[in-house]
Symmetry: D2
Subunit: 347 residues, 4 copies
């Protein structure tokens, strides 16, 4: 960390700043900058609240340092076990998670789950609690949908994942699902992150529409700080000026995340593009970029879906994508593109 001191500070005052830092347990070295004296702080400052430094007399400001994510940065290099033999991440083959945006009925879900199974996808997704921009749109069947998900798991053997938006929903969902999802709209909901941090289930954490890579890693750190190390990061598009796509899928974030942490990284091309015609090509690209998996919305009759109809694909299209994924993953199976985590901030 670099502290910029007040201009014109004398030698004894600078020495006092250095002493104060040493009292906090860190090493410090001062240097005269162009305009203001500078103090370098060395040692493990990552988990120290920054105001302890900024409040030292003589300190004008702290220079930007990288985010503080020691748990995220040092997590072990191993895949995460979900359930029924499905694993995600380092060393495991990329997998496809698929299912309807919303669980619309029991019959619809079970039929879709069978298609998902047949396609070669390895997990089932399905919305029970739906965060909708308009309060008048369909908001999901709630607990009933979770029960249908549990039935679909029994029927197909596919582990299931579903989104929760509150602590109350979290408690219900834990009884039915194999993986919890925190949606993009709740990535900054730190109370919810802390709550899933105390769960035993793996957590699929989606990047918020306005989240930097650093914000996403820090949200994962909230979860891991609670004791839950099974976090799967998900790139699902960020909000930009482009309107042709619903969001702008940031695939360079996949490669960046893979170099910053050993946590698995998957991609959601459905929300990432919002257009069914782009999902197959973006699925290919995501796997080629190094993603550990995909999460895709599928519907028997996409145009008739009760939510996100524009971005659902058919079971046939899903089958082709699963095949694409296998082909691309096969090309680079023994290729260490991302050898070890580097740091967000080298200085």
């Amino acid at each position: 960390m670099i502290l910029v001191l007040n201009k014109g500070l004398g030698e004894s005052e600078i020495a006092e700043v250095v002493s104060e830092i040493e009292r906090l347990g860190f090493a410090a070295q001062s240097v005269l900058g162009q305009a203001n004296p500078i103090v370098f702080v060395t040692g493990d400052v990552k988990t120290v609240p920054s105001h302890l430094f900024s409040q030292i007399t003589g300190v004008e400001k702290l220079l930007k340092v990288g985010p503080s994510c020691p748990r995220v940065e040092s997590v072990a290099n191993a895949p995460i076990k979900i359930a029924n033999g499905v694993t995600l991440g380092y060393g495991a083959k990329p997998i496809v998670i698929a299912g309807p945006c919303s669980v619309e009925s029991q019959e619809m879900l079970l039929e879709t789950a069978t298609c998902v199974k047949v396609s070669g996808a390895k997990m089932l997704r399905g919305g029970a609690y739906k965060p909708r921009t308009s309060p008048y749109d369909f908001r999901g069947l709630g607990k009933l949908a979770l029960q249908y998900m549990a039935q679909a798991r029994i029927q197909t053997g596919l582990p299931v994942v579903s989104e929760v938006m509150s602590i109350e929903q979290l408690e219900i969902a834990c009884e039915y699902v194999d993986m919890l999802q925190i949606g993009a709209r709740n990535m900054y909901n730190y109370e919810l992150l802390s709550a899933v941090g105390k769960c035993k289930l793996p957590v699929l954490l989606k990047r918020a529409m306005s989240a930097t890579i650093s914000d996403l890693l820090q949200a994962a750190e909230y979860i891991m700080l609670g004791g839950n190390e099974k976090v799967i990061l998900c790139e699902r598009g960020i909000r930009t000026f482009e309107t042709y796509t619903r969001n702008t899928l940031d695939l360079s974030a996949v490669a960046a995340l893979k170099s910053l942490t050993n946590l698995p990284v998957i991609v959601d091309p459905s929300h990432g593009t919002g257009r069914k015609d782009l999902i197959r090509s973006m699925s290919r690209a995501a796997i080629a970029a190094g993603a550990d998996g995909l999460i895709i919305e599928v519907h028997r009759q996409p145009a008739k879906a009760m939510s996100d109809a524009n971005q659902a694909i058919t079971p046939d299209e899903l089958t082709k994508i699963v095949s694409d994924v296998e082909k691309i993953a096969g090309l680079f199976a023994d290729d260490a593109l991302f050898s070890k985590p580097c740091q967000l901030s080298p200085v």
Copy 2:
């Protein structure tokens, strides 16, 4: 609403679509477009889930219609009463809400509250539960801070506002504060919005970093749908590519919101710019743009604040801003710049 039908649909099939719409209780009129037949739906479609239309056989897609915010768009043209004679919104003079980012101690809060009172500001803000990007930064004193806020209210007569991030915190805060704040990070937290919708207290709703004007209005609709009509909208900057400022303060959103709803609109120049040197000029600009008030972070020693030190101003600077606000508001007091709500979608 405009429905685009499948290309090549015959007359009888189009008639069937029209009949189906009429069965749903709406009027419909068909027309042959360049490529696809079109059906116009008229009547109050605002609160009807859109999938009811998209699921009709023959319908290819719905053309974008405006957001569905009937409560937000039709709310009465009257100021909102907060407490102790303070009102916000249409017809009331613009007010300044000020206080520390975080409540750091009892002594600090009471002293700051006195400064806020003396400056001419009309409400006190103070953070008890702090949403911090890093889990290692100071996260607030919690309930204790709320108790100090209540003391400060007794001491100064200023109504108080504080942020809540969960339903649990909401229940505690309701005992101590006069206005609840939903922060930018929780604007998409629909469970929390629904919960404050059932409270009696006014709610200060901040625009999320990635929220369009339409998203913000729909978040307000969630609250109003619960029965709470006392919603104050707050522009606090959106996330853009510009890095000189922490966010990009979107003052045209103030004028836009004032023309779309009668709900009060205030501006947060502290988070909007993230720079103490820009807060006074942006405060002036916000009031000139038509804002009903400001919410500003103030600290006795800004550089030593435990959170957001770069954007806190001194009590002296606050006094100047309150004076600026009065001067500008005085210029245009009898000037109906925003006469009545218009609609997001004219068609």
Copy 3:
């Protein structure tokens, strides 16, 4: 096109609008909307200046129609011939274009060109005129650099491409290069676009940092309108709030462009990410997304490059990327992911 008429217009006035449209040579059909009467205009309105419609008495506004790019949308489905047997686009294998950001010296260029040739890349890039954000940074060797490029072409047989920023530079460059490049900063420079439209050489047109997909297509239309049909589109990242990467590479734009036009689409992962550690993974992803080629900055000693040192890769890394491209392209060679151009605006 949809015209929204003034509210309350009578039948005879609406009929007058329809007549006026018919006098302009188009068919029109009126319908009563929810609030305002509507007129649908059918026929080929793509190249008609929109003010001819907006100026008709009774017309309140035009509803958004798609961009007007008839040449871009109808260009033939065939690869573009560059030189020396190199072709780009539909049906041709994806190629890699590589070379230094700036031509720094004759010796450096010739040595780099040999590396590029050996790697299996098919074209040589090299900056002669450099658009630099700061006027004090190295701005290129100009005409001398173009002469070195011509020598490198003779030595290696690789066709060469270089950027021009003005009509004066364009005239010089045409003597030395096989393909002209319009950089991101000049994509909106319509005078320059019109000028290259009158050249015979193929034009590599880069997307501006703030350009929508529609803006890019319309810029290509400017070139094609001048008579030059050999336009290659290039995605090179857009400006967003993310700062970890220099830009946000928008690979969904590749798939979108491929479905909107038959013009070749290539990707620049160097500027797209600004980070040498992300270029290989983004190269893979771009080809998997359907790109017809890549343009990559390579330098013998990346850290010592006179411009864009952070994003140059070594010749070794380039060789690996060329191999990756061949592998991925081989997987999907006979797979018609993008069968035919669709339209930006179906209505």
Copy 4:
């Protein structure tokens, strides 16, 4: 400037780096960082090409330093004289520049010019060469429009400003106008910037849709480097995800620019919002933020304008805005909100 050296460098190697910097004419001081050795370079590095430092053996990278705009940052604190007694900037009263987006005919321009004069605005704007996104839209009357502008100046006494997009147009325009305009689309057109830098006329430089504050200042430096110190900066909205407005008007940029340079700063609320209903409130806000002037599109029949019809206001509305500007400017006339330029980069 801060140089980050290679990890593990020995003392003698570090000393060699320091010597090399001293040979370049700068002072240097080394310090051992957390991971890499660091060297601080002091002295006037602003106009030194950065590759001179990055090419020193042992240097891994340069840490971000502020933009290099010595001319922009040190320009004198005095208003710029335009013509006919009109001045812009420090110490002068804010002025309004108004006129049609495009000059449509002689009669139309002269009539509009009279309205502009009567409103109290001080300069006339009018488009002769129009940069249009679609090549099929009206692109202006060219030289003829400039001649009409010159006539309007004689008739009204108002100095005139018009946009140029190429060096050829520049040469023509210099005969007719009092101020040249570089539009947002050409802010990165460095050849054009250098060309207007050799002109004697004042230059109105608009911020590009994707330009940071730093990019804009560096574009101004290009002009000043040519010898022309009469640069007026113009905020006109940046491109963000918000679609309700055409662009997002960044008024905090006005205050930021005023603190970074003494160059005058004006605001274009017409392009900044793209909506006639928001122009008056944004005009007020811009002046309250400290802008030295406004540039506004006015049309006798806004809905019938040949370009940008949605954002033109009527002469009546213009008169109200001129009055607003005078009122707000009067409030703060003797108030030194922006006392002296500060620096983009304090270290």
